[in-house]
């Protein structure tokens, strides 16, 4: 496959500005990281709808809840570890009330390589998808990212959008992405299925191409909507392919692999499932590529599960 690499994080501010132009209910909440999350642009354009909380993530999430209860649409944009981790009970209360809050968690998984294990969000999917009412979207390219934001605005309730800080292949899908729907990106046969979440798209694509070169023909499946997840497609795939490999920039516990396993455990017969992600350990500092490689999110590791 031919594609250019792109950083989705760079588009957060730009897209929020565009959407806020059409909808004056949209707010951005920031906790001193607007420079990193690229929401500074929103602050300049819409200062009244930009709420700086200082370094106070718990309160920021509850402020979003308050804005939503007055009919506004707040986007709390921060590193995934803070949105999903530091402010977890605040997010849970907002979800309990089914408030119209939106969360963008960027620097997800090991994307914040050099900051080290403290800042790696390898548990955010597990944390957010276990909360009732919360919808979880992971865009894998620029088009999907804008679609995720539009879906979040159109949907009345809490939505968590996981946005990669590391580069991803910008392969635009022909059809629009929808909540609850997965996409078969490539379908070359039934030797395997690689099922990935957007922030790990790079290794998923590279593995798929390498396997093809080696004569293994399989399917490449993008999970845009982690919750609700496309149960029908996953069930169907599990009847036809020889092996399923889940690929995630996340712990293998409770994330995408966990979600797939929860579906397939209900069936008596299905393809075996192998999980690629971080194996229940804390990581370390390094470039995102180095850290991902060392902790299992690598092309070699994916291929090893299949060949």
């Amino acid at each position: 496959m031919n594609y250019e690499m792109i950083c989705l994080r760079d588009k957060i501010g730009e897209f929020l500005c565009e959407l806020a132009k059409e909808d004056d209910r949209i707010y951005v909440i920031d906790s001193d990281l607007a420079k990193s999350t690229k929401t500074l642009e929103f602050q300049k354009k819409y200062p009244e709808r930009f709420v700086e909380t200082g370094i106070a993530e718990a309160s920021a999430m509850s402020i979003a809840a308050g804005l939503a209860s007055e009919g506004q649409i707040p986007f709390y944009v921060n590193f995934a570890i803070f949105v999903a981790g530091t402010a977890w009970t605040q997010l849970r209360q907002a979800a309990y009330a089914n408030l119209n809050v939106k969360m963008i968690g960027t620097y997800s998984g090991m994307d914040n390589g050099k900051d080290g294990a403290s800042h790696h969000a390898n548990e955010d999917l597990a944390l957010v998808r276990s909360i009732p009412n919360v919808k979880v979207l992971v865009p894998s390219n620029v088009k999907e990212m804008k679609e995720a934001m539009k879906i979040a605005i159109a949907y009345n309730g809490p939505v968590y959008i996981r946005v990669a800080r590391d580069i991803v292949p910008n392969v635009e899908f022909k059809t629009d992405s929808k909540i609850g729907e997965a996409k078969i990106v490539e379908d070359c046969g039934n030797d395997f299925a690689i099922i990935y979440e957007g922030t790990s798209a790079k290794v998923a694509y590279e593995s798929f191409d390498k396997l093809k070169e080696k004569g293994y023909n399989g399917k490449l499946i993008n999970i845009f909507s982690v919750k609700p997840i496309d149960v029908n497609l996953i069930n169907m795939i599990s009847d036809t392919v020889k092996i399923i490999v889940t690929v995630e920039n996340h712990s293998v516990i409770g994330g995408l692999g966990g979600a797939i396993a929860e579906i397939l455990a209900k069936k008596s017969n299905h393809a075996p499932v192998a999980f690629v992600g971080v194996e229940d350990v804390f990581t370390e500092s390094g470039t995102p590529t180095e850290v991902k490689e060392k902790y299992g999110l690598s092309v070699d590791n994916i291929i090893k599960k299949i060949i």
Binding site: S59, S62, G66
Partner: protein, 277 residues
Amino acid sequence: MILIMDDIKQLKILANENRKKVIRMIHSANAGHAGGALSVIDILTAIYELDVDLNSEKRSKVVLSKGHAVAAQYAILCSKGIIKEEELDTFRKVNSRLQGHPSTITIPEVDATTGLLGQGLSVAVGIALAKRNLKDKNHVYAIVGDGEMQEGQIWESLLQAAHYKLNNLILIIDYNKLSSYDNVNESMNLEPLNEKIKAFNFHTIEIDGNNMAQIVDALKEAYEPKDKPTAIICNTIKGKGVSFMENNPKWHSGGISDEEYEIAKKDLEKIEEELAK
């Protein structure tokens, strides 16, 4: 602004009626937080009577951050017809709208889903910011407990409320001096509380929070134009109005026996008779 009702004697009578409902609910549920509901109910009654028009779409909002005192809020919403009298006996029971802590899913009029301490003042900051941008002149109240003031998030939101000069936000601190443990200042000292909140750039007012005349004066002072949020520190008595509960840490939470219920009812009837004189 127009005050809906500020007759001191009427407010006292209403607060006493609400107290009766609180003990009825907790007796029926055989569980609940009587002490903190009874300490806060005077100012809570006054806020709803003075400033909360439940029939209006744009109105002042009340975030009961000390959500365990929810029986007080249900009693008031019952007096307003939002909750039916017989529904009070379903409190904390399965299939009831009357959850153990406020939930907007079952009763939207509670205004905020609370219960996890420390979060309500931040929610009120969000509401106040939205109201200011939407040119809605109403207020938002955050009702917090003294024990709750030990939560870190409270101090985050104190900074934020003052930073944004939220003059439409009124913080009510129910300072009954007792938390679940016992003496709140022995578990973790809050003093000097008034000075601390003043230093955070709040306008502070300190009153006897079970004295209706002082409550009404304090609320009117809070409504006056200013460029900062207001905090009303209410020195209250935990379990106020029920003889065996007053200042007794045992009544932070727990059921009320049939025998205790009879004594409590008599205590409140006595207050009612005195108010009728």
